[in-house]
Amino acid sequence: MEIKKVTCIVCPKGCLIDVKLEDGKIISIENYQCKRGIDYAQNEVLDPRRILTTTVKLSTGGVLPVRTREAIPKKYLKKAMLESKDIVVKPPIKVGDVVVKDIAGTGIDLIATGNAK
């Protein structure tokens, strides 16, 4: 049996959750304080994901803040960064507009988090 310690990041509390694994399967989750913690610990062990936040260039100069609409698998962060490196966006653009569809083949869009006129 293997125990993975996961620091929960759902809220600032930062609970240290124990996930017990046997043959790669979760057999129990302990020391959580809320339901969101269970979900987080489970995902963190089986399929860790992160929301990627970065910037892309604006054709008018400066940069536009963007993020993935949802969390993407952690292992795709670098690929998504490389893909967004050469993107140039033309204003006008507003919060929520799609900047790149299906970033790094994750099926998840990169969206604007700022406005540019």
């Binding site: 620091t7 600032p12 609970c15 940069v63 803040p65 988090t113 700022g114």
Partner: protein
């Protein structure tokens, strides 16, 4: 001289929420003054997520969080002056401001809300020996370069201090292709939120050196490296623990200072520990009719709590303008052992808004299963067990009006 019912100084998260809340509570004649060319304060450069979990029950980035308030403010037709800096404030609520477009402005306000926020501590504040080359930035300045201007300040980076902005920038630099060699923290524990340690350092295998500090900066024209040493319990470097790290950039994330030059001009009483105004239950300072909220009062770790506090100040100011009755009978609130400070610093229990009061506080050190005692001079009001506390994560306790003694 211009006359205004309510003037708000600062258009960051605190100023925005205070203005909106004051308007919602019946104040019509509001002016918000902002020295930058855009609203939102520091939020537009905080492009990472994690904002809004308390206020909106969803996870937003800084620019998105700001956008919601800016839209609401615009929809309410609240008057805003951008590129305008307040340079003088008097106890009688006279404001002097300057702007390139309008020149010198003088405004007489009936009530004022201070929302000037805070600024970063710099190298000068912590006296690091060594040369004075280019390549030393505060974390927030580097954040502005990368996220707003689109420039990378360096390629090989060492970060001193594990405050949240430093941790966030460690990840940001790494994603952008720079090498972050380490984060050195003089305290035996991190000064950032746990989620930032996990997401920003552990995710990218960036070492966090606790009880370590920079003892020398090398390089003449440009930073070439830093010497880092372990420190003892008195924060003195331990000889023979020095290690050299080559780098072209040193980021400082070594704390924030509330910006209270204007508060001092108006003779507003400041608190020794927070370095911000002493406030009562409705965020009113020692000068009746002048209110304060957000990082100008005490440095927050979550913008959501800034918003909550600012809404209280907005309602407090509306209440003051309606009734003009100052709070008089105050109970003073003081921090006991294990707590560094409590905001508000004093409470008039008869004038609590909404029959409940939030108290924000910080612990002196990390503790497990800490028991918090809330006592009056006569009695124990309430005790509460807190699973994990650490100085970097603010404790928020709500007391009901009937719990007073």
């Amino acid at each position: 001289m211009l006359n205004k019912e309510l003037v708000i100084i600062g258009g960051g998260p605190a100023g925005l929420a205070a203005a909106i809340e004051a308007k919602k509570n019946g104040v019509e004649d509001i002016l918000l003054i902002e020295r930058d060319s855009r609203l939102g304060g520091i939020l537009p450069q905080c492009i990472h997520n994690g904002f809004g979990l308390h206020v909106f029950k969803e996870e937003l980035t800084g620019p998105e969080y700001a956008d919601r308030f800016i839209k609401e403010l615009e929809d309410m037709n609240i008057e805003v002056l951008l590129d305008t800096m307040v340079i003088e404030l008097t106890e009688s609520k006279q404001i002097t401001a300057v702007s390139r477009k309008r020149g010198l402005l003088q405004i007489q306000a009936e009530a004022i809300i201070l929302a000037m926020g805070c600024r970063e501590r710099t190298r000068g504040a912590i006296n690091i020996p060594g040369f004075r080359p280019a390549g030393i930035f505060t974390a927030g300045t580097a954040q502005r370069f990368v996220n707003i201007e689109g420039y990378m300040p360096g390629k090989e980076i060492v970060i001193l201090g594990s405050g949240d902005i430093g941790l966030i920038m460690a990840r940001r630099f790494t994603l952008e292709g720079a090498k972050v060699k380490c984060v050195a923290e003089i305290m035996p524990y991190s000064n950032g939120l746990t989620r930032n340690i996990v997401q920003c350092l552990q995710d990218f295998d960036i070492p966090l050196l606790l009880s370590h500090t920079v003892v020398f900066i090398h390089g003449n024209e440009r930073v070439e490296g830093v010497t880092i040493a372990q420190v003892d319990e008195n924060f003195k470097p331990i000889p023979s623990t020095e290690k050299y790290f080559s780098c072209d950039t040193l980021l400082l994330s070594v704390g924030l200072i509330p910006e209270n030059e204007l508060s001092k001009m108006a003779d507003i009483a400041l608190h020794d520990v927070t370095a911000g105004p002493i406030v009562n239950q409705r965020m009113e300072t020692s000068v009746p009719g002048i209110f304060a909220c957000g990082n100008v009062v005490h440095v927050h770790d979550l913008v959501d709590f800034v918003t909550m506090e600012a809404r209280l100040a907005g309602r407090g100011a509306a209440d003051y303008l309606k009734n003009k009755i100052p709070s008089s009978e105050h109970i003073s609130v003081s921090a006991g052992p294990g707590i560094t400070y409590v905001v508000p610093h004093k409470v008039d229990p008869e004038k609590i808004l909404d029959d409940k009061q939030n108290f924000f506080m910080r612990s002196t050190k990390p503790m497990e299963k800490a028991r918090l005692f809330i006592e009056s001079d006569k009695d124990l009001i309430r005790t509460r067990v807190l699973q994990h506390v650490k100085p970097s994560e603010m404790i928020n306790i709500e007391l009901k009006k009937e719990e007073k003694v």
